[in-house]
Amino acid sequence: MNNLKRYLALISISGVLACQSGGGAKQEEKVFKLGAVLPLTGPAAAPGNEMNNAVLLAVDEWNSSNKLSGYKVTLDSKDDAADPKQAVSSAHALMSDSLVAAVVAHLNSGCFLPASRIYHENGVAAMSGATTNPEITQQGYPEIFRLCTTDLVQGELTVPYLKEAGYTKIAIIHDKTQYGQGLAQVVKDACPKSGIEVLSFDGINVGDKDFKAILTKIKDQTPDVIYFGGMYDEAGLIVKQMRDLGMTQQFVSDDGAFGQDTIDAGGVATEGAMFTMVGKPLTEMPQVAEFLTKYEKRFGVKVQNYGPYAYDVANILLTAISKVISRIGGVDKAAIVQELKQMEYDGVVGHTAFDEKGDTKNKVITIYRVQEGKFVPLKTMGM
């Protein structure tokens, strides 16, 4: 017990010297906050920071636009480090702040699933631009919205396209993550319907560098197409090692691998590989070019993947909030949720409206093929 006193003494003294913190009186300023919980550190930090930057861009534009009837919005970003536990903590942290009017929610489905309950309990609208697990909106929380199409849509649209392109035997690889395996499973389940034979369904580990063992096995099965559910590093290496082994099959992967990083990792071997990405091709939409230039000018780097989605999420939320403000003269969280339900918005990623579950009605994906180190859109498909 000799020990406990030290701790007590420590906290006793420390406060005396830190009295300056007694928070100033709250002023009656017209402010509210837009929350954001994204992986700013950890394994998904790259896309997480891109989304955060895009949200920041949107917030700054709204502040300088004067469309908020005298209100000012500040961005309150929290880090979930792609970890469910931290996601829940961050959600609690934002919900403890009564100024937070709406939340730009997580990149990872594993984070949004447990955190969505916290938003629901507090009646605060949370919209994600990147989580694709169908379960999230199946929970029936009215506050939860999602701008991207689910794995279900992406997987089920990919398979008929493959059939149409004349492939009949598929080998599926996934990275055992919630996202990669989830998507691969949808593809696997959809194949029999289209008459494609699934030869194998194998998992690899994120961070592995050598996939030759599994590829050699697949080579013997002679599929005519190989599907990979996972992220860019592994996608690039798999396609590279396929070509090294003399496998000439078509390689198809998903939105997690849709990015310059895949081409960087795979080099020339990625030529001809196909990738699906949610939404229409960004080049077909004039607003996108404007966004891309603005982003590059502000942050000095190019947009890789989910930046446009985060930008739209922030804009949709702020549009809803601004409508509520002009209607009732203040920020009301329940009114914001109602406003979002009937929202029709034309943004960077296209026209958005939400179905009764909170998913976007804009269920469109695009297939891209790599040509000369660039992603060239082949076909846009919708449900």
Partner: protein
Amino acid sequence: MPENIYTIIIVLTGFALLILGLNIHEAAPFLGFVLAGAGGMYALQRGGWLLKAGELIKRTRRTYYASLALCLLAYPLIFTWLQSPYWIHVATLAGVYVCLALGLNVVVGFVGLLDLGYVAFYAIGAYSSAIFFHHFPQARWAFWLLLPATALLAGIIGLCLGSSSLRLRGDYLAIVTLGFGEITRIILTNWDTLTNGPKGISGIPGPVIARYSFDKTPGFGLPRVANYYFLIILLACAIGMAADRLNHSRIGRAWMAIREDALAAESLGINVTVIKLLAFAVGAGFAAMGGVVYSSLIGFVDPMSFTFMESAMILCMVVLGGMGSIPGVIIGAIVLVVLPEKLRDFQQYRMLIFGAALIMMMIFRPQGLIPSRRRKQELLEEEDESGTPAFEHPPLE
């Protein structure tokens, strides 16, 4: 009697400063607060005030515990009043880690066996409860059965692991336990039919006790999470008391003897294998109970929550707090949960500052925040002999 009043004043001051510290929202003042605290504590120690306060508390133990209990009770009410239920959630999470750190302390602190795969038992607890509720979502009362049942299950698995690996010592045991932790995670990832694979299991319900559901507010304006707060406080107290009792029992003496010299202990008639296995099983059981509460608190489990980093973190809590010291380990766990949350204001520098703080601790206070008396003595002796502080036990390099 005035002594009792002094004790109450000490506890209440400490508590008030804790609340104040948690409410500092700016990054720089908080850092100042922490540095001032460290400086103040050093000054107090220099002036001999810490020693005096410690003796005072020892003399007025009942008052001390009563006022601590009062503070723990007041904590959620205060943060509800401050409209900051976030800190109630963080305190609950800290409680889960207190259970885990107390369990690992039995293995690492009391017996001196380095276990790097401790998270496996935590995962077994969390997943057992998640899988059960996935199949029987209506049987929410079963939570109270699951608590002891998973502890038993984890204890048995701990025995199996221990019986096969305890003939190894030091680093070699550490490597085997590390492997065990990874095997557990990989099984959770790949046994899709049972664990739903990497997608994890969501929608784990809260427990129910006599028609009182943990999904509802307990009244007084308290948020839902306050239920778990009180539950985890009770559980952590029970585990802390159990660990303390064990430590002061014959078994605890045997653990200590084995830690100091296994050969000598055996020659004195201690059955080293059985006693070591017991420590493994007890530690595993504590972790599993923490896991059960965790899965209901978060409502979601996936294999990525039980990586080696988690094991390392729990070990950090034990080492930071002071190996073998129960109050030390409790404080260590609380600090290592609260600090990263508090450092959120630093955004991307969060983990950098966190790591720097740990390194500073290792330089300036290698024995831990509140070292066990015995270990403090050991470190002092070693310093006297060689002139530099030695830290060879357990082998961490």
